[in-house]
């Protein structure tokens, strides 16, 4: 693998009043790659995402994005530079219709800069783009779903809305925090190609997941966290074979085969 990593995390530490959420985590991410992050519950995956995107400030360490340190930068500035994330516990704008949820990112400085979605100044043009994005992500355009208020949408759609919000920003990196959970098999079947398509378009992805089958199909590399520390990293097959991972993450052969 040649070239500079687009994102490089170095020795990041984070404790929450005595709880070590992250210890000395480092990794590099090449542009256009998909990195899978797995680990038992409470191992610090979401915290890692938070640290990268600025929602939580690392106690020490560096997060280099295109060579610049992001630690201490406000989340909205990080997003503005093209590094976006989804929330594991969904955070839509509950009072707005689903497609209006996307107007907010479409209105952001970044989207206006990069997307040229000013749309000739006509009202409603952003709406069209919003519905386009939703359609791409699996909201049927002709159905009522994109027009329903977010508060009445079921979990599965909200998860996808999270991803749509990221797409609207035209980001360079998307960090997905468990977007697959809450989707049924058939829906997943359409999500996987979508992810592949994003990768083709040159977007770099970090995917935090518990749905390993799909993840391993997608990911170029996988990193495993346990108790806040990185215990393995490599291509999926390697990681699956790692003894430590088996012990810490799967616990037993039964589980392993179940996966």
């Amino acid at each position: 693998m040649a070239g500079e990593p687009i994102l490089s995390v170095r020795d990041v530490n984070k404790t929450f009043g005595g709880v070590k959420a992250l210890t000395e985590v480092s990794f590099n991410l090449m542009p256009g790659n998909i990195l899978g992050v797995i680990g038992p519950n409470g191992s610090g995956k979401t915290t890692l995402v938070n640290v990268i995107t600025g929602f939580v400030k690392a106690d020490s360490g560096q997060v280099l994005y295109k060579g610049k340190d992001l630690v201490g930068t406000a989340p909205h500035k990080i997003a503005d530079r093209g590094l976006t994330r989804t929330f594991q516990v969904m955070r839509p704008y509950y009072s707005l219709p689903a497609y209006k949820n996307l107007i907010v990112p479409l209105f952001s400085p970044r989207a206006r800069r990069t997307g040229g979605w000013r749309g000739g100044g006509r009202m409603g043009s952003r709406d069209t783009v919003a519905v386009d994005i939703l359609e791409e992500i699996g909201f049927e355009r002709e159905s009522y779903v994109p027009y329903k208020t977010a508060s009445s949408l079921p979990t599965g759609y909200l998860k996808r809305l999270e991803l749509a919000r990221c797409l609207a920003l035209r980001p360079e990196i998307i960090i997905c925090d468990e977007v697959f959970s809450g989707l049924s098999m058939s829906e997943m079947a359409s999500m996987v190609p979508l992810m592949e398509k994003l990768q083709m378009e040159g977007i770099t992805l970090i995917m935090v997941e518990h749905r390993l089958r799909e993840l391993f199909r997608l990911a170029n590399r996988v990193m495993v966290l346990n108790f806040g520390a990185k215990i393995a990293e490599g291509v999926p097959v390697e990681v699956m074979a790692d003894k430590q991972v088996k012990e810490a993450y799967f616990g037993s052969e039964e589980v392993f085969s179940y996966v």
């Binding site: 409470g42 979401t46 594991q88 516990v89 979990t155 098999m185 058939s186 829906e187």
Partner: protein, 248 residues
């Protein structure tokens, strides 16, 4: 022991549940599967009475959007007009989707609040049991609920529901956000809970694979209607179900 007949739920003019009937016997595990917006959560809310409460609240705030129809019988009694708290007292406990744990209480306190209906002995015993099936919780008993990770919250939510000494446990997407190991354990525990503690369980999931093997009877919901039902083998052998839920 528990049966629901011809449930109908309207949100405004949209039919979210269309004439759904369902039954669950003693110690049985019943699965309800369906894709997004099939109406699983709506069904669970209706069974536990929360839907009545939501409708009532909306009515008070002016809207009268939600209409409910149908009968729910529990132990030979019509409970379709009972308040959720009354149903809970009778043993119908819902573990709602999206966790809804108490964010400002510690893990232990969450569990204690869950034990509101239990007597002290039961509470102590169940507490131990919860820690047994969810070992990660033992390490974080003092942490505030709101600070937990997604998976930890999910475990806590299930544990809390168990604390309420259910006779009929309604689990809405219990696997959401759990790591494979815990998923596996939970599926096993569900079976164990049903068998050893004599609890009937209705599980709603769209991720059917881990749950399917443990159920006694299952329903497939689609757009608010129960399109397929049958016991484990019926469902597993149904080609449509197979392709939709096992990706094979």
């Amino acid at each position: 022991m528990f049966e629901a007949l011809g449930l109908m739920v309207f949100y405004e003019n949209m039919l979210a549940l269309n004439n759904v009937s369902l039954a669950c016997g003693d110690n049985q595990i019943v699965g309800v599967f369906g894709a997004n917006s099939a109406g699983k959560s709506t069904l669970m809310y209706t069974l536990s009475g929360i839907m009545d409460d939501i409708a009532k609240k909306e009515q008070m705030a002016g809207g009268e959007r939600i209409t409910l129809r149908g009968r729910i019988n529990y132990k030979g009694r019509d409970i379709s007009h009972d308040k959720p708290s009354k149903r809970a007292k009778a043993g119908i406990i819902l573990c709602p989707e999206r966790r809804r744990i108490f964010p400002e209480s510690s893990v232990l306190e969450n569990l204690k609040i869950g034990g509101y209906l239990a007597n002290p002995d039961q509470a102590a015993e169940t507490l131990e049991y919860v820690f047994k099936i969810f070992p990660p919780l033992t390490k974080i008993v003092r942490r505030l609920g709101g600070f937990l990770s997604g998976g930890e919250q999910q475990m806590l939510a299930i544990g809390r529901a168990l604390m309420a000494q259910p006779k009929l446990l309604l689990l809405d997407e219990p696997l959401l956000g759990l790591s494979p190991a815990i998923q596996y354990w939970l599926a096993k525990s569900i079976k164990e809970i049903a068998e050893e503690r004599g609890v009937a369980i209705i599980v709603a999931e769209q991720y059917a694979r881990p749950i399917m093997p443990i159920i006694d009877y299952g329903y497939i919901l689609e757009n608010g209607s129960a399109v397929v039902e049958g016991d484990k083998d019926d469902l597993m052998n149904n080609p449509d179900v197979k392709s939709a839920y096992f990706g094979a």
